[in-house]
Amino acid sequence: MPAATPALPVSDHSRPGWKAWALLAPMVFWLLVFVVIPGIILFVYSFCERDEVGGVIFNFSFDNYRRVFDPVYLRIFARSIGYAGLTTVICVVIGYPVAYYIGRASEELRNRLLLLVMVPFWTSFLIRTYAWITILKQEGMLNSFLAAMNLGIGPFNLLYTPTAVVIGLVYAYLPFMILPIYGSAEKLDNSLIEAAYDLGAGPIRAFSSVIVPLTMPGIAAGTLLVFVPAIGMFAITDLMGGAKVPMIGNVIQNQFLQARDWPFGAALGVIFMLMFALTYVILQRRGSRSTA
């Protein structure tokens, strides 16, 4: 029998010509100047020492890395991972149904709903975070609303608590979960779902054995886009956590701007990047396995 995909007469993919390089040049330049070179500087600094006024002395040592594994910082790393993990789980739980619904909607409705997902980006991120402060603070909109409704619940003391931080993180990153899952759901062939029903799968089993595995690439991409930046987020923890629940992003920011200990900040940053890379590799493995 003939092969499923006949070989197409295409040029050699492994060696792009000068045209391909010309097209890629802006991106290569951008990555080099803003990612690769700063990365190298960070890596070099992480093995240096600081002087009294906050300068960097090029004196090779592992001291910074020894400090990273101090229990104080390990706890902060663990907390950051915990909050980011919780944020990711909540984003999947809230975002999946929304993304799935948008992906299965008619084309016209789909575009309108996608616009709604994007609307928050029209306002500055900081302004939106301050809006949350207005909602959550002691005499804020949430508590006023609950008091007015006379439901007998509240007032809640939410602002400057870990709950507020997670609310803020979920709010900030939800669109980054919705969009990739939407991408997977939209591509999902309806006849596959019908085939599952036809073969005796009720809605729940069709969902768990066909729909979820086939939208897994979207979930993996969304997790990467939410989990990784959420670990490093410092603005929300500062504003909504009242700097009482520092995350790793806050510590790094402090080392560079307040403590003026650049080498230690760099070491934290390098460990942080290694964590990113590890998460990425794990998700990539899982992603490629579920779509193979």
């Binding site: 062939d189 006849s191 019908e194 073969l199 799968a201 089993r205």
Partner: protein, 357 residues
């Protein structure tokens, strides 16, 4: 087995299936044949449970299943796009239905093996769908449906994505399988040749209604409507006036003045006008007149070589244009050429009245 009782399905203002009634017998291969958009796929989806009827009922073994969801109906479908689960191996695809029915693993293993052997794919059990050819995927889809032992197997244009040669092979194989296993098949296609090759009965569907229901020979030789005559095979459809009746025959006059004797068993007594259908291959062409009720002379306007046959465009002496097909029996045979004058002979049974008023 299956009974469709006065089923109507509308999508907004569009009526996809219009008051259709049809009974499918156990062990029968029935084909729903029609052009795209005629409602044949909607009818199949009503049987599968993907659509619910707006009016009427679908009965399976005497039980009304009109509002049962697809996962509670013992019918299975082979999808046009095969709809194989891309994240599962062939074996897991075939076993999906059994897992959903909680069939014990040991029994399921055996049934999966048998099903794959039936479609000659025993060796490919651990492959993923994308590693297989179109024809193989088609067999996996078939095995996945058959392994559930459905009361009725629904097939939605399952061969349309295959190339012509493979398609022809699969037609015979499907027919053979259906006979061997004694299954009931409801097959949807727009390909009239496929329908004629495989079916016990064919339902010709047009604009949401069944135009004609009958076995392949009946559908081909005795079309009952102009649509049926035109859609199945080729037909010369000619308007005529009924000028004389004598027992089971009538004489009709075509617009050109050519008079033909035709068989008419169920022609209404009041009818004066008719539309007659003549299959191109039934016009016997010769240098000398043959023995038949209708013999007339014509000139060959155009001759098109088609391999096994020659397609001829004729114009009779009276001016009626006709298509005819003659077999290319031998390469050395004296063929017909453009401009030749020939005799056309037609039996009265080969002219069918498809419409009368």
């Amino acid at each position: 087995m299956i009974e469709i009782r006065g089923v109507t399905k509308r999508f907004g203002a569009f009526t996809a299936v219009d008051n259709v009634s049809l009974t499918v017998n156990a062990g029968e291969f029935i084909t729903l044949l029609g052009p795209s958009g005629c409602g044949k796929t909607t009818l199949l989806r009503l049987l599968a449970g993907f659509e619910t009827p707006d009016e009427g009922a679908v009965l399976l073994d005497g039980v009304d299943v009109s509002h049962e969801p697809p996962y509670r109906r013992s019918v299975n479908q082979v999808f046009q796009s095969y709809a194989l689960f891309p994240h599962m191996t062939v074996k897991d695809n075939v076993g999906f239905g059994l897992r959903m029915q909680n069939v014990p693993t040991a029994e399921a293993e055996g049934r999966i093996r048998d099903a794959l052997a039936t479609v000659s794919l025993a060796e490919q059990a651990d492959k993923l769908p994308h590693q297989m050819s179109g024809g193989q995927r088609q067999r996996v889809a078939l095995a996945r449906a058959l392994v559930c032992r459905p009361k009725v197997l629904l097939l939605d244009e399952p061969l349309s994505a295959l190339d012509a040669k493979l398609r022809h092979g699969m037609q015979l194989e499907l027919k053979h399988l259906q006979r061997k296993l004694g299954l009931t098949f409801v097959f949807v296609t727009h390909d009239q040749e496929e329908a004629l090759t495989m079916s016990d009965r064919i339902a010709i569907i047009n604009k949401g209604k069944i135009e004609q229901l009958g076995d392949a020979t009946e559908i081909y030789h005795r079309p009952r409507t102009p649509f049926a005559a035109d859609f199945i095979g080729q037909a010369n459809l000619l308007a005529a006036t009924i000028i004389l009746r004598k027992g089971a025959t009538a004489t009709v006059r075509l617009e050109s003045g050519l008079e033909l004797v035709v068989a008419c068993t169920d022609l209404p007594a009041s009818a004066t006008k008719a539309l007659v259908s003549i299959r191109p291959e039934k016009i016997h062409i010769g240098r000398v007149p043959a023995v038949a009720e209708n013999v007339f002379q014509a000139k060959i306007e155009e001759e098109i070589f088609q391999g096994a046959t020659d397609q001829l465009r004729l114009i009779t002496d009276q001016g009626t244009k006709l298509h005819a097909l003659v077999a290319n029996e031998s390469a050395t045979q004296v063929a017909f050429h453009e401009g030749d004058r020939v005799y056309c002979s037609l039996h009265l049974d080969d002219i069918v009245i498809v419409q009368a008023e």
